[in-house]
Symmetry: C2
Subunit: 284 residues, 2 copies
């Protein structure tokens, strides 16, 4: 969302001043037009934007069938875009395998916390980076990473080196200085999954050569056709309790502008959701 | 070679003070030990170092059989490490295909000039960067690139943009600021082949995400088993005149220390070779 506010070339047109802010959202169908395949009460997901209601074309959304034992809210978390990002980013782009050392930044976030758990399921050693002692404790105790390191610690550089050793896969949710540090800790044929980033002058990319490593950006929309596969697998892992999730719910559309910056100040733990109405009015 | 002189972790042990400088070289066998599979007069290639003669183990070199119509010197050029680098870097890592726009930096160099010609053979539009008007002219007239741009021109940024448009494959022989500029001109699913580089704070790597692009380092030694395939293909293209090459020969081992810096000042055009003796005494 933050990227869409910059007036520069990206993978989507920037949101213009005066337009409804673009956002993925869950909603339910209150009324249908002629010939619609949707029914009143259906749960849907789409780029519905920052609004309480609206009139949309059917192609702007897809119907969500909630598997038994799974919370509809999970379609904004492990079964939604963040979950899809974790799944395809780690398995397809990162090519994680048993015995790998996986480093995850933004590990207490919505995507990061799923990445950590998928890493453990894959049999990797998982090192997590987060910005408060509480988040680190949550990652070690609940999420089950091998080691969580606080990147705001005064001894972070040394603690990072000690905990990380050398990396097979780095799932990058932050970019910048930490990406640069990770570049210096690559193993042979390492893979860096660029998921979210911010501008910073990285210098360590020379190690991509000496370690014949890969740094690859990806967009989750490219995997849309394979979402059903991921949703099925992730739903099973959720039901088996192998994936834990945390939501940070802010109530009220008027709170949305102050909710977004929480993502940049570390003010949330888990998936940040703004609740603008009652999706549970959908027939489930 | 320059990298081997830095005392830091790389893909090979740094060369120590007092050791023979490491270098790939052609030589001929003057004497063989017991049970050797080589014969006196054989042409060999190996990490023979900066020296006129030496005593080596057989596994440190491989015998070169020079195909008819090809100069033995080509095994230090298009049929040597620089040619192998161009071949596997462009075809395997860069996955070049007809219709692609290919950008090559250091294009008048030994690797770069082969990359440009392989790009044309593959059916790509080739934009070349070099550091003098003479090199640019050579690239356009002889090597046959679509456009060569002088990166020392005062209007380079604008000329770069106009010539390059957007890139499918960037074969990077220089890193730094030009890598950063190339990052801003990526097409969807672009591939950056990191071949040689120098430290610089690159910021444009965010475009790897928005264009779902890949930046991959590689080392030619990983492809050793496939050298015969490349040598056969490249030899044919050499004989057909589809690949042109230029050598810059410096005579005398004592000139080697002043020859190496030419690579960093742009003082050479084509493959820089130091001739320390007469490889043509080999039986060919």
């Amino acid at each position: 969302m933050r990227g869409w506010l910059d007036d520069r070339r990206g993978y989507m047109k920037p949101v213009q001043i005066g337009e409804v802010m673009r956002a993925g959202a869950l909603g339910y169908v209150a009324k249908t037009g002629k010939g619609s395949k949707l029914s009143v009460g259906d749960l849907v997901y789409g780029g519905l934007g920052w609004r309480e209601w609206g009139v949309y074309k059917e192609k702007e959304m897809r119907k969500i069938v909630v598997p038994k034992g799974v919370d509809p809210l999970d379609f904004l978390g492990p079964l939604g875009m963040t979950g899809m990002t974790a799944y395809f980013g780690l398995f397809d782009v990162g090519k994680i395998k048993a015995g790998d050392t996986l480093l995850v930044s933004g590990a207490a976030g919505a995507t990061g916390s799923v990445v950590c758990q998928l890493g453990k399921i894959a049999g990797a050693k998982v090192i997590a980076l987060a910005g408060t002692p509480e988040k680190c404790e949550w990652l070690e105790r609940e999420v089950g990473v091998d080691k969580a390191v606080n990147y705001k610690s005064p001894n972070f550089r040394q603690e990072f080196k000690d905990a990380v050793g050398y990396i097979d896969v780095y799932f990058d949710n932050v970019g910048g200085e930490i990406l640069d540090m990770a570049l210096l800790r690559l193993k042979k044929n390492a893979r860096i999954v660029l998921c979210d980033s911010r501008p910073y002058g990285i210098t360590g990319y020379l190690n991509l050569i000496s370690q014949t490593a890969t740094m690859q950006g990806f967009l989750i929309f490219d995997y849309a056709e394979r979402f059903p596969e991921a949703i099925q697998t992730l739903s099973n892992w959720l039901k088996e309790g192998r994936i834990k999730r945390k939501f940070h719910v802010v109530e009220g559309l008027d709170k949305a502008p102050e909710a977004l910056p929480l993502l940049f100040t570390g003010g949330n733990t888990g998936k940040l959701v703004v609740k603008v109405g009652d999706y549970q009015r959908a027939k489930l």
